[in-house]
Each structure stands twice: as structure tokens, then as C-alpha cells.
Amino acid sequence: MNILKLRITWIWALLVAATCFSWESVQGFQLFSDVRWATALVMVVAFIKVRFIMMEFMEIRQAPLPLRIFADVWVAAVCTAILVMYWANAS
């Protein structure tokens, strides 16, 4: 089994890169002068990572439709609610 040919290996590499990017965007290079945008970016990246874990590692991508819908609604709803509540109080 060649692990480099596995789809999950590339997904893992993407998740690691996204994690380092999020960390660096707060710690090192600061993309935004306004921290609210940096936080929003970190949060969106986190939920994109969550969706990748759900769809690829948990294999929800190939799961019955109700589970796929639950996963997508959870990601969209929780991410949106966090961003709205954060932004409402941070401005």
C-alpha cells in the first residue's frame, strides 16, 4: 500500500498546511491590520478543516444523504453563528 497514493494522505497534508497557515496568520505575518478579519479568517479555515475531516476521514462524503445534510448544516450553522456573535460584539 503506497500511502502517497492515498487521497487521505493529501487531505492530511492540506489540513496540516491550513493549521500552520492559521497559526502563522495570527502569530507571524499579520495579513490584516484589523484583528477581527484575522479571527474571521482563522474561524472559516477551522470549519473548512472540520468539513474535510468529516467528508474525507469520517467518509461522510459517501454516507447516506441525511448524514451528509446534517454535517453540512452543522458546519455552516455553527460557523455562521460564531462569526455573527463574534462580530456583533467585537465592533
Binding site: M1, L6, W12, T19, A46, Q62, P64, W74, A81
Partner: protein, 205 residues
Amino acid sequence: MTITAPDRVETTIAPAGAKAKARRLPGEEGVWLFICGDMMVFAVFFLTFIYYRGLNPAIYDASQLKLNEFWGLINTLFLLTSSWCVAAAVHAARHGKEGLPTKFLVGAMVFGGAFVCVKIIEYGEKFAAGINVLTNEFFMFYFMFTGIHLVHVLIGLGVLTFLLNKSRKGYRSETDIQIIEGGGAFWHLVDLLWVVLFALLYLTR
């Protein structure tokens, strides 16, 4: 032929060249009920945290500076890698690769164990600095959420130990495959919850 009913567990293997890929639930339905319930509970945790953060952002910002973000980063990488190991173990088990699931599961447990070690070091640093669950609201949430998550990690390590013992006999039947898939799904849940906790507790400014 392949069973494509959306709410049923697949029990047969699709023939090569089948055009439509069958939808199937990896693992037992009961495991997924638990996972979905847990995700709803943690969703409430996340929203509660962000709500109270908004009421007093100064305390949260000041407290967050006392966290060691590097430990948070390392632990995220440990769990992501551990999750990959479990996904690779499931793949190997499905394709009848004798011995490989065991190796991948050992790898998953090593990275999962490393997460626990780092968490213990991190808690130790906080206690040594006089910081505990009663210090302020931020640290109450920090210890409560990461503590509950740590319990999930420990349960997950127990599940991985069970899967490891089972892997020595090999994953041969459809039921065997469902067991490793279900256990793996729980471990991935532990991973994805930490991804959000890391962003919320360590990186939100």
C-alpha cells in the same frame, strides 16, 4: 449488485466498473447517533463561549495571552496525524492488508498519547503559574472544554486499544470492518472538535 438505499448499511461489494458509487454508512448507526449528539453538545459549548467572550472581551484577550499557543499548534498536528493513521488503518483493513491496520493503529495511539502528554504539561504550566478553573471566566471555559475533550481523547484511546486487539485477529468479515469504521469515526470526531477548540481558545483575538 450494490444496495443503494440511503438509510441502510452496505453489505455487498460493488462490482468493478459500477458507474454509480453506492452510498453507505461507515460503522454502526448507533455510533453515528452518539457522534451527532456529541456534535450538538459541543456546538452549544462553542456558542456559549463566543457569547460570553463578547460580553467581556478584555478579560478573554488578556487571559488568552497566558496560553501557550505552541502547545495548541503541536496538539492539533498530533491529532490530525493520529486521525490520518486511523483512516489509513480503515483503508488497509478494507483492502485485506494483513498487519498494516495494526501498525497504523499503533501510530494513531502514539500520537493520541502524545496529545495527552502535552495537555498534562500544559495544565501543569497553568497550575504552576497559579492559574486554575476559578481564576476567571475564560479559564473556567478553558479547563471545562479542554477537560471534557480530554475525556473524549481518553475514551478514544480505549476504543483504539480495543481495535488494536481486534486487528491482531484480522479484519475479515463485514462486521469486523464496521467495527473499525465506527471506532475510527469516533476518533475523527475527537479530532474535529479539537480543531474548533484550538481556533476558539487559542487563536481568536
